[in-house]
C-alpha cells in the first residue's frame, strides 16, 4: 500500500473517529473538517481534481461553518455534561455489524478482483463536466438548483418560524 495513501486514509478515518467520539461539539466539527479535507485529498489522489476542490469549497467553506453556527446557536459551544451517547454498545455493535457486512462483501466481490490494479489516469477536464452538466444532465442540474433554492428558503423559514409567531 502506498504510504501517502496510508497517511491520508489514516488521517481521514482517525479524524472521523474523533469527530464521532469527542465530547466537545466544536472539536467534533473541527475533526469532521479535517476528515473531509482528507477525503478531498483522496479524491485528488484518485484523479478527481474537480470533485476534490468542490468538496473543500462546499464542505470546509460552507457546511462546516454552517454546522459551527448551528452549534453556537444551540449553545453547544461548551462540552456538555453527562452522557453523550445513548446505549453506546448496542449502537456500536450494529455499526460494527454493518461494517463487517460491507467488508465481507468487498472481500468476496468477484467484480473487484477483475478490475485493473491501477488504471491509467482518465481524462477529466472541467469543460467535459460543464458540457455534461449543461447537456445530458441539464434537467438534474435544474432540479438541484430548485432544491437548493427550496432548501435556502426552507432553512430560513424553519429557523425563523417561532419569531414570526410571537
Amino acid at each position: 500500500m502506498n504510504p501517502i495513501f496510508a497517511i491520508l486514509a489514516g488521517v481521514t478515518v482517525g479524524a472521523a473517529v474523533a469527530a464521532m467520539a469527542l465530547r466537545n461539539l466544536v472539536h467534533s466539527v473541527l475533526c469532521l473538517t479535517v476528515s473531509l479535507v482528507g477525503l478531498a485529498l483522496l479524491y485528488l489522489r484518485l484523479g478527481a481534481e474537480f470533485a476534490g476542490f468542490v468538496q473543500i469549497l462546499v464542505y470546509v467553506g460552507a457546511v462546516a461553518i454552517l454546522i459551527m453556527f448551528a452549534v453556537l446557536l444551540t449553545r453547544g459551544g461548551e462540552a456538555p455534561p453527562g452522557r453523550i451517547a445513548n446505549a453506546p454498545w448496542s449502537g456500536l455493535a450494529v455499526a460494527a455489524a454493518v461494517f463487517a457486512m460491507i467488508a465481507w462483501a468487498i472481500a468476496r466481490s468477484p467484480a473487484l478482483r477483475g478490475m485493473a490494479k491501477d488504471p491509467a489516469q482518465p481524462p477529466l477536464s472541467v469543460k467535459a463536466i460543464g458540457d455534461k452538466l449543461t447537456g445530458d444532465l441539464v434537467l438534474p442540474l435544474q432540479v438541484v438548483a430548485l432544491l437548493l433554492t427550496a432548501a435556502l428558503v426552507g432553512g430560513v423559514v424553519i429557523a425563523m418560524s417561532e419569531k414570526e409567531t410571537e
Binding site: S35, L42, L112
Partner: protein, 100 residues
Amino acid sequence: MTPYLIVSALLFSIGFAGVLTRRNAILVLVGVELMLNAANLNFVAFWRHGPNPAALDGVMFVVFAIAVAAAEAAVGLALVIAIHRHCRSGNVDEASGMKG
C-alpha cells in the same frame, strides 16, 4: 481499489455509529454527512477504476451529491435550531413527542 472501498466502509460505519449513539442532534447530522461522504468516495473510486471513466458518471454523481448534501445540511441544521428553540435541548432522545 479495495483499500479505498475499505476506507469508505470504515467512514460509513463510523458515521453510522455516530448517528446511532450520539445524543446531540448536530452530531447525528455530522454522522449523516460522514455517511454521505463515504458514499461519495465510493463513487469516485468506482469512476476511476470502473470500465468507462470517460463517461464521468461517478464524478457527476459526486458533484450532485455534494450539492444535495449541502441542502440537506442547511435544512437539517435549521430543523435542529428550531427543535432546540422548541424543546430547549439539542438532544435527540428528548425530542420524542411523536412517540405512540
